[in-house]
């Protein structure tokens, strides 16, 4: 198991180092959140590569590492597209690839307003062994994480997901609310609902005159809460999982953003503790870079 985790991390590190050496990196306006989307879009032409990982241990189950490798591209100022490759490793079990996701975000209003709406549409083709926990919907709970990888990977989840993202900036604070609806395309599966909300703020609003690694404007802190809202047959906060998580993001002068989030389950259905780690790189003007190489 440790060997598999080690190999997985080596692949991520080699891919990341290759990207860093070959392409010009940009300083991203990377949000500190993991689950909650803000109304911030990827800059047109920029490509962001990010690895999201989550470590947890359900009651009565094995410790796991769920991971999603994300490629986010700014198609237009109002349209951002993202492609994810998901995988997981579970102690005393195996490490497997669990599927892919393709999402698109469309900003519905130009200019900045008190509340800025964004429509999110996603298609995912993953199996039941996925442990990325990128959202909680329906009656999701830690019991879903107890089956062996061999059994749970047999369950195929081809799903359509929509989110209404609402975001605001006020006095340095970023406030975001997401309303989630998801439908498994298999016949008879219900519509599932979920939510995510977050508040973040940089530790300093004014930038220093010199490049610095540890200056406060490079750090953002905040908190996010997310959970399920049942299904269209059984809507509500009961019998599902809810989490609250602290957020810390650190943007380095070389364009790398590191993110950390300890999260705590609030109900019996929730995994008691989740620790998320993210590493993001933004590569500026990818299209122009390739065109100039022709």
């Amino acid at each position: 198991m440790l060997r598999m985790l080690d190999m997985y991390m080596q692949v991520i590190c080699i891919a990341t180092a290759t990207v860093c050496l070959l392409l010009p990196l940009a300083r991203a306006q990377e949000p500190a959140t993991f689950i909650t989307y803000t109304h911030q879009m990827e800059e047109p032409g920029n490509l962001e590569i990010e690895d999201h990982s989550v470590i947890g241990k359900p009651d009565g189950g094995n410790r796991f590492l769920g991971s999603a490798l994300e490629f986010e591209y700014g198609v237009q100022g109002w349209w951002t597209t993202e492609f994810y490759l998901d995988g997981q490793a579970t102690t005393h079990d195996s490490a497997i690839f669990t599927g892919f996701r393709w999402e698109n975000r469309f900003r519905l209003a130009s200019g900045e307003h008190w509340i800025n709406p964004v429509l999110y549409l996603e298609f995912e083709d993953i199996n039941g062994a996925d442990k990325g926990l990128l959202e909680v919907v329906g009656n999701d709970g830690q019991a879903d994480l107890l089956d062996s990888n061999a059994d749970s990977r047999e369950e195929r989840e081809r799903e359509i997901e929509a989110k209404l993202i609402l975001g605001s900036y006020a006095e340095g604070w970023t406030i975001a609310e997401n309303f989630i609806a998801e439908k498994n395309l298999a016949a008879g599966e219900p519509f599932e609902f979920g939510y995510a909300v977050a508040v973040t703020r940089p530790l300093a609003l004014k930038a220093r005159a010199t490049e610095c690694t540890f200056c406060p404007e490079n750090f953002q802190a905040g908190v996010e809460a997310y959970g399920g809202l049942g299904t269209h047959r059984n809507f509500g906060l009961a019998d599902t999982s809810h989490y609250i998580a602290g957020l810390l993001a650190w943007s380095l002068p070389n364009g790398v953003t590191l993110k950390f989030s300890p999260g705590f389950g609030l109900t019996g259905s929730s995994v008691p503790f989740l620790f998320r780690v993210g590493v993001a790189y933004e590569i500026e003007q990818v299209g122009r870079w390739f065109r100039s190489r022709r």
Binding site: A26, M41, E43, P44, G74, Q76, G77, R107, G172, A209
Partner: protein, 121 residues
């Protein structure tokens, strides 16, 4: 009076559609860091992080992204530039930088206005 000055500047401008389309009411905002040397340096740093990919390291422009030392930008009221940086123009490829805290957007404006001073020197 401020509105009238802004309108005259806009009328005199021969280029810079985006600035011309910015609401004149935005011109009334004053830059809290005008002539602040540290703000120019901080703005230059922020410009290199967030703007240089499109506008060029020295703000010389690149393709669709215009040069920023041109008169239409330099003569524009700081409030208009602040409004443009904040709101962008999503349909014309200029992203919104509202995610940057307000003081940082003003620091970028201060740097942009400093481009003219550097040319004069």
């Amino acid at each position: 009076m401020t509105k009238l000055i802004a309108m005259l500047i806009l009328a005199a401008a021969s280029r810079g559609d985006l600035i011309q389309r910015t609401p004149a009411s935005a011109a009334g905002k004053t830059n809290p860091y005008a002539d602040d040397r540290d703000a120019v340096l901080a703005g230059r740093k922020l410009f290199s992080h967030h703007c240089a990919a499109c506008h060029g390291r020295e703000a010389q422009g690149n393709g669709k992204a215009p040069p920023l030392a041109q008169p239409v930008v330099q003569n524009a009221a700081p409030g208009l530039l602040f409004h443009l940086i904040t709101n962008g123009s999503l349909r014309r490829g200029m992203p919104s930088f509202a995610a940057l805290p307000e003081p940082q957007r003003w620091q970028i404006v201060t740097y942009l206005k400093g481009l003219k001073q550097a040319d004069v020197r």
